[in-house]
């Protein structure tokens, strides 16, 4: 049976925890709005870009001279997994969900006898993967100093990946991130970026237009495909940004509510034991008086 003093201390400590989680929730809500706006603002570029590259890619004949970023190296032996996670914790299952997805993918590849390499972006994912996959790590990006993810961050990552691709370090690259659906739901997913995959259904619509190309199609593709990788990484980073804040917001909301429940429970316990103490004292006084 904890003493009254202990109970009082616990109530105080839970109260200050609740203050912190409440504040974090509100900060996350504000940041979420900004992150969502950023993701929204970036959408026209990504959509248009994929549309153009998609229609280009589907209209050019695939030949030996086709860019390797489009047709691949001809092998599927070595996979590069690019894991995008957050730099900060306390955001519910956000990072674990991405890591779980990565692990499932990695296990499948390993079971098929493929080789894997892992590049991590964000400290949290790295920490979680370190235990089982540390020997597959080939690179890490730390954006903990960056307040708002911008395009040059994505460029940094894609430049590294492309240079690895050009030096034949891997055949297929997949990025893992969490797609923002709503505050309570984020969907971790893997997206293959090298060789590029396009949704040709979307591209079919614009194919009917006959375009002039300057310079010729292949040169444009060569110029655009590396940018496509950057665009996809950027989209991934932005989706992740919104997902992280959404996950944090709901996690902190839960925590705040839990803290409230706990305070209620502890307060009842505190009041009861205080009452018990008073009753005890009264009994002592009364029985003392009766004994006289």
């Amino acid at each position: 049976m904890p003493s009254l003093k202990d109970l009082k201390n616990r109530i105080e400590s839970v109260k200050s925890t609740r203050k912190i989680t409440k504040a974090m929730q509100m900060v996350a809500a504000a940041k979420l709005r900004r992150a969502q706006e950023a993701a929204e603002a970036a959408r026209p570029y990504a959509t248009k870009f994929n549309e153009v590259v998609g229609s280009l890619a589907s209209s050019t004949v695939q030949s030996d001279s086709s860019p390797r970023l489009l047709v691949g190296t001809g092998s599927t032996q070595t996979h590069l997994l690019v894991v995008l996670t957050s730099e900060r914790g306390l955001c519910g299952g956000f990072n674990s969900n991405i890591v779980k997805k990565v692990k499932a993918h990695a296990e499948k590849l390993l079971a098929d006898g493929k080789q894997i390499k892992i590049v991590t972006v964000g400290k949290k994912g790295r920490d979680q993967l370190k235990r089982d996959y540390a020997h597959f790590f080939v690179g890490h990006f730390d954006f903990s100093d960056t307040k708002n993810i911008n395009y040059s961050n994505a460029e940094e990552v894609s430049r590294d990946i492309l240079s690895r691709f050009n030096s034949d370090e891997f055949d297929i690259a997949t990025i893992f991130f969490s797609k923002f659906i709503s505050v309570v739901s984020q969907e971790p997913q893997g997206l293959q970026v090298i060789p590029a995959e396009f949704n040709f259904d979307d591209a079919d619509k614009s194919i009917s237009t006959f375009f002039e190309y300057e310079p010729e199609e292949e040169a444009i593709l060569k110029d655009l495909l590396p940018r496509g990788v950057t665009t996809q990484i950027f989209t991934g980073l932005l989706e992740n940004g919104a997902s992280e804040q959404g996950a944090r917001m709901s996690a902190m909301d839960n925590a705040t509510r839990n803290a409230g429940d706990m305070i209620d429970r502890l307060t009842i316990q505190y009041n009861r034991s205080r009452q018990a103490v008073i009753t005890n004292e009264l009994i002592e006084i009364i029985s003392g008086a009766e004994a006289l």
């Binding site: 970036a42 006959f210 190309y213 300057e214 940018r227 950057t230």
Partner: protein
């Protein structure tokens, strides 16, 4: 014709325009309404848009233009209104181009020409803007 300029972070302009001048990879182009459908890459340079008597200028780096059904879309990795273009940003561009050139020279790859062209294009831009 409808003119749109977007960079990866935001949409810079979306307005009906009369004339658009773009720095195409193989030379400057002036686009008038009802231009034939076109896809072209851009070199670093100045983009000029004339809309209802007003002319606005943008600096664009690395991107492409798509013309389709009387609408002009320009997607540029880096694009800023000329007024916002500053020396540090320019230096950053030039440094990036030079780094790339350096790296490619070491690899003796076939893209050296492209990188050289990029750097000289950026340098031309310097004369245009800052002198």
């Amino acid at each position: 014709m409808q003119f749109e300029l977007v960079n990866p972070e935001r949409s810079l302009a979306s307005l009906p325009a009369d004339v658009v001048q773009v720095p195409g990879a193989d030379g400057d182009m002036t686009i008038m309404p009802y231009h034939a459908p076109l896809v072209a890459t851009l070199r670093p340079g100045v983009l000029t848009v004339e809309a209802s008597g007003e002319t606005s200028e943008y600096i664009v780096f690395g991107g492409f233009i798509q013309i389709q059904e009387n609408s002009v879309s320009i997607l540029a990795e880096k694009s800023v209104p000329r007024a916002e273009f500053s020396r540090p940003l320019f230096d950053e561009m030039l440094r990036q181009g030079q780094d790339e050139l350096q790296a490619l020279r070491e690899l003796s790859s076939q893209f050296v020409n492209d990188a050289e062209k990029f750097v000289s294009d950026v340098k031309n831009l310097e004369q245009y803007i800052f002198s």
